[in-house]
Structure formats: structure tokens, C-alpha cells
Subunit: 192 residues, 2 copies
Amino acid sequence: MQKAIQNRTIKTRAKLLSAAEAVIQSDGYQALRVEEVVKAAGVAKGTFFAHFNDKDALMEILIGERLNACLDQAEAGTPPKTVPEIIAALEPAHSFMTSERYVFDLLIRYSGATAVADIGPIAYCFERYFRVVMLWLEAADMRKDVSSELLAEGVQAFAIQAMSLRFCALHSATTFTDRLETYLDAWLTPTG
Amino acid sequence: MQKAIQNRTIKTRAKLLSAAEAVIQSDGYQALRVEEVVKAAGVAKGTFFAHFNDKDALMEILIGERLNACLDQAEAGTPPKTVPEIIAALEPAHSFMTSERYVFDLLIRYSGATAVADIGPIAYCFERYFRVVMLWLEAADMRKDVSSELLAEGVQAFAIQAMSLRFCALHSATTFTDRLETYLDAWLTPTG
DNA sequence: ATGAAAAAATGACCACGGTCAATATTAAAT
DNA sequence: ATTTAATATTGACCGTGGTCATTTTTTCAT
């Protein structure tokens, strides 16, 4: 006997999500505690885990939302044609992705879907990032000896590398943007 | 008044390390519990944290050791000259790095040193990986329009990308080796 | 040998994510 | 309106990483 989804379900879920957003707003993602969220939402702890498999699932949703907004912004502008333009267009996304060490680590951890069944919000965002970049590259004046798919995968790999090094004290001499530009010049318009 | 380092210190540390190795040997890295390690080592829990800052610090040591052994192996052979040879030389390292999801995630998380002061075993391994590849590339017949440093950084970025996708159900059609070969061909010997 | 100070080890304790049997609420069938 | 079963909520409880005041052991100057 299938019963309709209850009103209070979506209400509780909304309460949890907005409580979590408030916590993050003031203290960042890293500092979020499930106990604090449920207290702010006025529900029991068990309720949280009835709505989200685990804390990471909530994080995936919230981080995925923000990242999707960045990708919306990237898609809204006129398609970038050059490496600096591409980097500029992706800047909001990259900036958010490296806003917190915690966020970056979680993004990497969930960037790939473990099972085809559970493509989470973050895995979806990575797919979308890839697709957006691929479309740009197709219309831009880049090397044509390999497919746009491959080029886009490479852009993603280099962006992740550059973001990783942003957190690394050993490589802090070069800025993120400079490094990524060096990578992408060499990747997208080789002269060798 | 500075006092000499005590014998029991290194003995206790050795006990903890070998106990941890035994646990990992039988159940893998993911399953390691600090309580189990201290029980096997016959010490109190507090002692563990007097020897290692946290569980991750122990993991860094053990994983770094194994990875260093893989890099020893890579350096022992004759320097690879072609992309397939490079991939073959790095195979033990890549294989270990992706042996467990837990291991891969930890590697990525500690691949960069947060502060110059604390270059951990894993950050050191990544530096070493980079250096080894760079030396190979200098002696191989690869594109010369960009520096070997840059090429080596790219190899690392693509290797990480290929390893990431190994855990991803969405991209399981292509094997790790095939994917990495495609990446490195396009990166190291572009024809565009 | 003795006393003092530094180093090491201890284990009760805490923080926090996550579980689950019990309870409460809701929607539909009668 | 009453019953029934699916759904939602609860909070005591657990597992595990990590802390710290206290105790034990070692080292060294005398």
C-alpha cells in the first residue's frame, strides 16, 4: 500500500537544510556539527539520518548547490575562446572549490560515482563541468589532433592539480591562476 | 635539562608500527582501528597518541613506506623512454595507490604539505614521484616546447585523474592503463 | 645511593557521527 | 468514526578517534 509523501517530511527536510545553511554561513562547512543542525532545526538527531544517509550526504547537497550556481554563472556568459577567458569563466567555480580545505577534499572524494545507481550531486557537477568545458573547447581555436572530450578531461585534471597545489606550501610561489594558465597553454595549444 | 631519548620509546613505537602492519596485512588499511593496534601492541590508547599526532599520521608513515618501495622499484629499472614504458614503470606505484579507496583518498589529502615545516611522508612521496618522472622525461624523446618540470607535473595530474576514474562507475568502460596512455600520448607527444 | 626533573605511559573521559527499537503521526480502507 | 498499515520521529545508546590530569619510569647531577 503506497502512501503519499507527507507534508511534514518536506517541511522537516527544509528545516534541516536551512539550519545547516545558517551554520555554514556563520562558521563554514568544516565546522558543521550534526548536533548543532538538529538543535537549530528543532528535531531529534535520528531524524537527520532519516533524511540523509550521513553527514556527507547533506554536505554533497549543499556544496553541489553552490557549485551548480557557479556553473550556471559560467554558462551564462559568452563562451570563452582563449585560455585566459576560460580560466576567468571558471574562476567562481574554482574559487568556491578551494574556499575551504574541507570542501575541496569532499569534492574530490565524491567526484566520481561509486555505483552508477548513486550519482550524487557532486559527481553530477563534475560531469557538468566537463561538459561545459568541452562545449567551449569545441568552439575555440584549440589543437585538433585529439578529441574535445579528451581536452576537457585534461582541463579538469589540470584544474584539480592547480587547486591541490593551492593548498600546498611547497608550491606557493606560483599563484593558482598563473599555474593553471601555464598548464592549459601547454595542453590546449602545444607548439611542439 | 635535555635528556636522551629513551630506549623504551623506540621499542614502543616499533611495537605500535608492527602491530599496525599486522592488522593491515590481514584486514587492509580501511579496517584499521586504533584500539585494535594498541591492544595488539600491549600499550594504552594514550600512548598511541603520544607517538603519533593522530591515526592519519600513522597511516601516512605506513602508506608512505609502501609507496617509497614502489618508487624504489621504479627507479631500479632502466629508465623508460616511451609512454607505455613509463606507465609500466609506474604500475606498481599506481596499483598500490588505488589498492583501496581509503588509501587513495588519504594520499590525495596529504599529497601537499600544508606548511613547509610538516612535509609528511606522503607529500615527500609525491615530490619524489614528480622528480623521478621528470628525470625520465628529460632523457626521453618528448615534446621540448615546455619544461620537463611542467611535463612531469602534467603526468602526475593525469595519473591522478586516471586513478580517480578507476573508482568511478561512470567511466569504467576504459581501463586505467588505456586511459592513462591516451592522456600521456596527447600530453607528451602532441601532433597538433 | 638519593633527590629532582624530564620523559613516557596510563586509562577514564569527551566529542561526534551514526544506529535502532520504540513511539507517534498520517493516510487510506472499512 | 474506527481500524490498519505505512511513514515519520524520537532519544538512548554505541563505536571510535582523540584528550589530559595523574602516575610510573628513566635520566642525571649531586
